[in-house]
Subunit: 342 residues, 2 copies
């Protein structure tokens, strides 16, 4: 198996810089669109053969160094007892958003194996299919990010309901975060036992917090989840979007790899993160709309900066956009492999 | 006149920290809602008596140390020849978005005095009304932020059309930025001549750029506008939202005051900005939903951090939210005045 990715996560020597793309299994791929034309998004997530199929699609096509489980961060939220649906216009919708104590009390801490057997099954299929290829990354939404969806009932602009609960009833907010963290930790534990060889915590919305609020309302939960999961012995990646103001805290989470979004210079980020963690990132997803030769230049620049970290996994600074030309994603992966060898 | 605000902009000694709020004339005020019930948003912007009226509403009610002209950043874009409208759901809409050379060529560089006489008139009314009260701030959108609206045709999530033009046709993008910068500079010059005692450049979307792209595609235009406007002798404030990763560049714009959003610790921001500029900010707008005593604590913390800068103007880290309880905004202003005196 190509273990470049796992080695880079641990900061070990690698012959070249490994690369994968957040949302690499997704709408920019015609093969993915073909599958989605037949089934809705949630059915796809919950049908192991299909979820495994779309997980594998980018692996050969893009020649990436890791696969990531196809699923959605809100799947365990559904297992906690909320009703989840997806609207083409509004994105995810969680009906009866959590706004008070009875809402928090009603939430279950699910038996993650029993509640999400399809995830275990998908991972088992994938490990077999990927045996001589690349490692499989499992993932979950970070507690604060999941809390925002649960409290807002979906996406949000200002996260006012979330912050209102945080500010006006911090005890209640903490009890919600506690339940989510327990669930997420169990869920990632289940993924690892099923065969995930690394796991990533996606903190899409951490960046809407002041550093002070991040420290009080999210950091302790990330630290706890990471400490618990480290016992399983696989690399833990923590990606917080819009992280530029939070790196001083993020450094202390204990994660093996810190994902960095594109809004900060990678060299700057590494300076603030120090020598004890590997980094992952951080090409602007829109840079895949550059002319091909320019993509190479940007890749080279980021590779050069990544050299200063304990380890570097190349990635985008956020998910690949649905409009991205596939050949440009391929160009990017080729450039990472080519330039990092020299 | 209370000149605390102007003194703080220049880094001079002040008896207390001055404060104003971005969007302080706006939907959270019942008096503003009453005016808006009678006229639509664009008519309000273009009717001097009414625009002056809503500008003045928060001055006494909140006891802030500066007034800011009520207008919209897209007003000069309309003067450049684009058709502007506002939708309650989608926000601003610019029909026929700029996507190619003929679009850029079609844009006028307006005679800003002739094209926007209502702005001059509003400022003249306001200076009379504010004579023994507080200074008047004029404003404009920063070139990149205006470019995003002009290219996207309105608000955007990923700014893909903007970045596509930047990346695929940088020459065209630069020629658009050149035209916008000329217009914005003329427009702010007109405001200053009419009586604005300071001006702020609002760069709402600068934070979606990588530091490298900011340096190439926005920084030179900010620097040029600032250099030109400095000749007028009034303080120039530059507010870039989501600035945490960009401060190294922002430091060099030449602006007298740098506005800082809430996603970075103000002490950290000041460290990176150095001793030559004053700062403005940076309370999370959602912190106005805290219990009143907690608002005081946050204000105190930010005031303490602001002490490290050449000058500090207290403000929110972005515009006040429409849902904000007015009494909490008043509490905030009182707390700034009270704690900064001691």
């Amino acid at each position: 198996m190509n273990d470049t990715f796992l080695k880079a996560c641990r900061g070990e020597d690698v012959p070249y810089t490994p690369v994968w793309l957040m949302r690499q299994a997704g709408r920019y791929l015609p093969e993915y669109q073909a599958v989605r034309a037949e089934v809705d998004f949630l059915t796809l997530c919950k049908t192991p053969e299909l979820a495994a199929k779309v997980t594998l699609q980018p692996v050969d096509k893009l020649n990436v160094d890791a696969a990531i489980l196809f699923s959605d961060i809100l799947i365990p939220v559904e297992a906690m007892g909320m009703h989840l649906s997806f609207s083409d216009k509004r994105g995810p919708i969680l009906s009866e958003p959590i706004r008070n104590k009875s809402g928090v009390d009603r939430l279950l801490i699910p038996d993650t194996e029993d509640a999400m057997p399809f995830v275990i099954e998908t991972i088992k299929i994938l490990r077999k299919e990927l045996e001589k290829k690349v490692p499989l990354i499992g993932f979950a939404g970070a507690p604060f990010t999941l809390a925002t969806y649960m409290i807002e009932g979906g996406s949000s602009k200002n996260f006012l309901h979330t912050k209102k609960m945080m500010f006006q009833n911090p005890g209640l907010f903490h009890s919600l975060m506690d339940k989510i963290t327990t669930t997420v930790t169990l869920y990632l534990g289940t993924q690892i036992k099923a065969g995930a060889q690394a796991v990533q915590l996606f903190d899409t919305w951490a960046g809407v917090l002041t550093p002070e609020d991040y420290k009080e309302f999210e950091f302790p939960y990330i630290k706890r989840a990471v400490a618990e999961l480290k016992k399983e012995g696989v690399p833990i990646i923590y990606f917080a979007n819009e992280c530029a103001g939070l790196l001083k805290e993020i450094k202390k989470t204990g994660a093996d790899v810190i994902g960095v979004d594109w809004r900060i210079d990678l060299r700057e980020a590494i300076k603030r993160l120090g020598k004890k963690v590997a980094v992952q990132g951080n090409l602007d997803p829109c840079a895949l709309f550059l002319p091909k030769e320019k993509i190479g230049e940007r890749v080279e620049d980021i590779l050069w900066k990544g050299e200063f970290a304990k380890g570097h996994i190349f990635n985008l600074g956020h998910g690949i956009l649905p409009e991205t030309p596939v050949e440009n994603a391929i160009t990017m992966v080729e450039a990472v492999h080519k330039y990092s060898r020299t």
